[in-house]
């Protein structure tokens, strides 16, 4: 049977071009989603089994089983099943559901720490290989770190770096496997490989990359073959298309434990296959939903083995299997298809869940039923996030996905070098303390000490500029070290095989603590702040003698300071030489690490006490946005996306009552709020609709709330999986609820 039967368009047949294929073949769906089907009997039974397994996992302390015998590799495991009779989409990371992979490529110490935390001994033979014969990414990076890099890392000035775990963030264009089959893809890669000359490091480096990718594709074919699927040819029907796509993703998560392993934007693509089968009556709606439900079940079962320190940073075992829905095509048609609804409908068929991390690409031009449907679902589940398609599309085109939390990436065209973030608040304290760390007193860089009893705005800002310049050099050089070695020792052949051979590269820098810094600078600028110094001469306390504006109240005086800091830091970063000519991008994003970063940071001039959590992402500090949500959104929207292309994360929480008197009012009001925020050029928003009482109750009685899902910064998490500290921080966040 011709796998491409009934498909339109010519360009995509000759060379890899998913956007062209979709443009010619997808059908927008603009009506009410009355067609949606409940889960099939098979799905229900399968999901019940999975839920039992996940209960066992929870009871076992978070990890059900670890395979210590095998090294992460796509063909390392024989096929695994949950219940073969019930599975219409097959494939597991290992040979059993929820059994976790040991992944020593990133670093051996992390494997040991993760195993030790579970009282398991890793295989001695494997240890010998990865400590004696085979260098790991982690070891390689630390061998070349300078003392200055180690110091900045150890003091928490540069934090969360992917120097001990997979950097993630890469989205393979998994749609390529079902559309073209592996033979076609391998031929294309070989053409790329042979077309390169051998004259310098750059081209030989690329040749080695492509050779690795080809090997990855071949191994992927072997893995799928063991499950009885022939990936060498294109998929011929919807089941195969979804199965092929999942195998391609599975190959990636078998080998890579990247922090974020996102899926992309698959609905319009899969919809083309589903619609063809539905029209041919070889599939009915229940069958179509069953395929999507079962794909989502598989995505919900993906696990990685982490260390306790990692869990503290990124709570709740997140994978960032981010999948986007919605968006507008460059030809003006909505990219909404029936399958976008089928994806969203899994939240009802299978219940709310943090994964996959469902992201709505939002526009006022989306069909009204779709807007209402997604907002209803966001209110019901607190499991959705929204990104501004009108802001992103002009820069990334219409075939992009969201990587990790909030970062747009062109599918199959871009890659990202993930770089976590610097702690801007600690950097400010360095400026105030003459370059000394406020906790240890260590001298980090040489800048003039401030001696007056009161902090002088001009002197503080001049010092801060010096710190930020120094930090941009150190940060970019650290990133260069990390990604050179990551490419060399922990290369993501499976994902990169499904991205163009010489893609656009982004170096994804990030900042944390922006609102603390803006408020602190505001205090120094607009009132008198007394510096309380200890016997070492380190400023450990601050006394503001008057009122000053806080970020989050639509007050340009302080909002402008936030923008000033971002612009200064980004301009400095953009001047640095970057590995493989990557383009610098920046995020304002913390995930749940705002708690840990706060813990490592002394008191700040804004009145925040030492150790107190930062606000998440780009949020105003807890309780300081006194003028209500619209004013807060206006402040957020002033942060310039054009220099923060890696994303500006805003987490918004409101009680149902404050959102409107009736359910339909709530939907309309929330739509209007998001339109307002995005119309003002806001980039991203997490929507939480719950009351503080619910969270407090869930903290006291976690057994009653196993599925309570909330959006933190850029991902969703089961509330009960957060640490107590993180739960308290979430509860302390501003929840708009005014009487």
């Amino acid at each position: 049977m011709d796998p491409w039967r009934n498909f339109e368009g010519a360009l995509w047949r000759k060379k890899i071009d998913l956007a062209d294929f979709i443009r010619h073949n997808y059908q927008p769906f603009t009506s009410e989603p009355a067609f949606l089907s409940p889960p099939s009997a098979r799905t229900k039974r399968l999901w019940t089994k999975c839920q039992q397994l996940m209960d066992e996992e929870r009871t076992a302390g978070g990890v059900l089983a670890i395979d210590t015998e095998r090294v992460a590799e796509v063909t390392a495991w024989a096929p695994g099943y949950i219940d073969r009779e019930l599975e219409v989409i097959v494939g597991l990371q290992t040979d059993e559901p929820l059994k976790r992979v040991v992944n020593p490529w990133g670093g051996w110490r992390m494997v040991e720490a993760a195993c030790k935390a579970r009282n398991i001994d890793p295989d001695p033979a494997m240890k010998k290989i990865f400590t004696t014969y085979r260098r790991t990414q982690n070891e390689a990076i630390f061998r070349i770190y300078t003392p200055e890099m180690r110091q900045a890392r150890h003091l928490g000035i540069i934090t969360g770096l992917p120097d001990a775990y997979g950097r993630g963030r890469l989205i393979g264009d998994y749609r390529r496997v079902p559309l073209y089959g592996l033979d076609f893809l391998i031929t294309e890669k070989k053409n790329d490989l042979y077309a390169l000359d051998n004259v310098d490091d750059t081209s030989i480096h690329l040749r080695e990359d492509i050779a690795d990718q080809i090997e990855g594709l071949e191994r992927l074919g072997e893995m799928a073959k063991a499950y009885g699927s022939d990936l060498s040819r294109p998929a011929t029907d919807a089941r195969e298309a979804i199965q092929w796509l999942y195998f391609a993703y599975l190959g990636a998560v078998k080998e890579q434990n990247g922090a974020a392993m996102s899926l992309g934007h698959t609905s319009p693509f899969l919809d083309i296959y589903l619609r063809r089968d539905l029209e041919a009556k070889t599939l009915d709606e229940e069958g179509a939903q069953e395929l999507i439900d079962q794909l989502v079940i598989k995505l919900r079962l993906v696990r990685h083995l982490r260390t306790p320190e990692y869990d503290e940073l990124f709570a709740g075992d997140p994978l960032w299997v981010t999948e986007s829905v919605g968006g507008i095509s460059e030809d003006g048609r909505p990219l909404v298809t029936k399958t976008d609804y089928r994806w969203l409908h899994t939240l009802r068929n299978l219940g709310p869940s943090p994964e996959p991390n469902l992201t709505v690409l939002w526009s006022p031009r989306l069909p009204q039923p779709f807007r209402a449907y997604t907002i209803n679902l966001a209110i019901e589940t607190s499991a959705l996030q929204f990104e501004n398609d009108e802001l992103i599309r002009p820069i990334f085109g219409d075939d992009y996905g969201i990587s990790c939390c909030v970062s747009a990436t062109r599918l199959g065209k871009d890659m990202q070098y993930f770089g976590a973030r610097v702690n801007l608040a600690k950097a400010l304290l360095l400026a105030i303390n003459g370059g000394r760390d406020e906790k240890t007193g260590e001298q980090v860089l040489a800048i003039p000490a401030l001696t007056g009893n009161y902090l002088d705005w001009r002197s503080v800002w001049e010092n801060y500029e010096q710190v930020l310049t120094w930090l941009s050099v150190l940060y970019s050089q650290t990133m260069n070290c990390i990604h050179y070695m990551h490419d060399k020792y922990n290369y993501e052949r499976m994902q990169m095989a499904l991205i163009d051979s010489n893609p656009r590269r982004h170096m994804a820098f990030g900042v944390a603590g922006l609102s603390v810094v803006a408020d602190s600078l505001s205090a120094i600028r607009y009132t008198r702040v007394k510096a309380i110094r200890d016997e070492r001469g380190i400023t450990t306390g601050f006394e503001a003698e008057g009122d000053f504006p806080y970020f989050g109240n639509d007050d340009d005086r302080v909002d402008g300071l936030a923008v000033k800091v971002l612009r200064y830091f980004y301009a400095s970063l953009a001047e640095q030489p970057i590995y493989r000519d990557a383009k610098p991008t920046m995020s304002i994003l913390t995930i749940t690490s705002n708690v840990v970063y706060g813990k490592k940071t002394g008191s700040t001039p804004d009145g925040r006490r030492a150790g107190h959590p930062f606000a998440p992402g780009a949020n105003p500090m807890h309780g300081r946005e006194k003028s209500g949500v619209v004013a807060a959104m206006r402040s957020l929207a002033k942060l310039p996306y054009e220099i923060c292309l890696d994303g500006i994360s805003y987490t918004f929480s409101i009680t149902p009552r404050a959102l409107g008197p009736s359910p339909s009012d709530r939907v309309q009001n929330l739509i209007r709020l998001i339109d307002g925020y995005f119309g003002a050029h806001g980039h991203h928003i997490n929507i939480n609709v719950y009351s503080r009482e619910t969270l407090v109750d869930a903290m006291e009685h976690p057994e009653l709330y196993p599925n309570l899902t909330i959006r933190v910064s850029g991902y969703a998490v089961h509330f009960v999986k957060l640490s107590r500290e993180q739960q308290l921080e979430v509860i302390e966040r501003t929840i708009y609820e005014r009487m």
């Binding site: 639509d554 006194k626 003028s627 209500g628 949500v629 619209v630 004013a631 807060a632 959104m633 206006r634 009552r657 404050a658 959102l659 409107g660 008197p661 009736s662 009012d665 309309q668 009001n669 209007r672 709020l673 339109d675 307002g676 925020y677 119309g679 003002a680 708009y736 005014r738 009487m739």
Partner: protein
């Protein structure tokens, strides 16, 4: 001529201070001194921020794209009647730009100013503190408040009556019956909102190192059921149409 006024703060988004989605301007200064006030910071006549109505409206205009059409503006406080020229200037300007303007008031103020403001807004939300003995809970002059309430029947401006139910203070049947009688007098009455007392105010008072005798009483809060019972009583004894009590005012 510029009529500058004093405001305590601006709330950029509310669904609880009138119909639709609205901004709320909290005026600085209120003479009422209600024992259950949720905004005691706004009492002092001085303080707050001095601002011209034009500048204030410009600030509010920034919030318009986030609000439903028409955007709502509620003048609250503090007590807007305490700064009548400023309140009227702001209301007139805002109405001219298409805002739906509501006046949230305790009704204590000079009759002339009150009449002018009532005619200059789209909705009056009149908080009756106690229909018989407001002096027990506040410094309100019962005669002045009652006179202003009755004036409302001379105008076409829609009216919402707001009432806080406090156990032992505002919930005796004779008080509720009297409230029903007052409600009955106003033909333009659109809604009666009965709010259960909540203790949120107490921390605001503590912040100001103030104390209210109310907070020393035990169990002055009421349940949802009691709110519903009070509504039924008001509605039945005065023979009011049930539509005046929208379900959402109870949640």
């Amino acid at each position: 001529m510029v009529t500058r006024g004093r405001i305590q703060s601006v709330q950029s988004f509310s669904t609880l201070d009138g119909p639709g989605t609205r901004c709320v301007v909290f005026f600085q200064g209120c003479p009422a001194g209600c024992l259950f006030c949720h905004n005691p910071e706004s009492w002092a006549a001085q303080g707050g921020e001095e601002i011209a109505p034009e500048a204030l409206l410009l600030r509010l205009e920034r919030f318009r794209p986030f609000l439903q059409t028409p955007p709502g503006l509620t003048l609250s406080g503090g007590e807007p009647l305490f700064q009548p020229e400023f309140a009227l200037a702001l209301a007139t300007l805002a109405q001219g730009e298409g805002w739906h303007v509501a006046l949230d008031t305790c009704g204590w103020g000079p009759t002339d100013s009150f009449q002018q403001l009532v005619q200059g807004v789209d909705l009056v939300m009149f908080s009756i503190k106690h229909p018989l003995h407001p002096e027990a809970l506040s410094k309100l002059n019962p005669t002045s408040v009652l006179a202003n309430w009755q004036l409302l029947s001379n105008f076409s401006t829609p009216v919402w009556l707001r009432y806080v139910l406090i156990k032992g203070w505002t919930d005796p049947p004779e008080a509720l019956t009297a409230l029903g009688r007052l409600a009955k007098e106003i033909p333009t009455l659109e809604r009666i909102e009965i709010f259960p007392y909540n203790s949120l105010a107490e921390s605001d008072w503590e912040d100001l190192h103030r104390d209210s005798p109310l907070f020393h009483e035990h169990s002055i809060t009421v349940t949802e059921t009691e709110v519903r019972q009070a509504e039924t009583l008001i509605q039945k004894t005065a023979g009011l149409p049930p539509r005046l009590f929208p379900a959402f005012a109870r949640t």
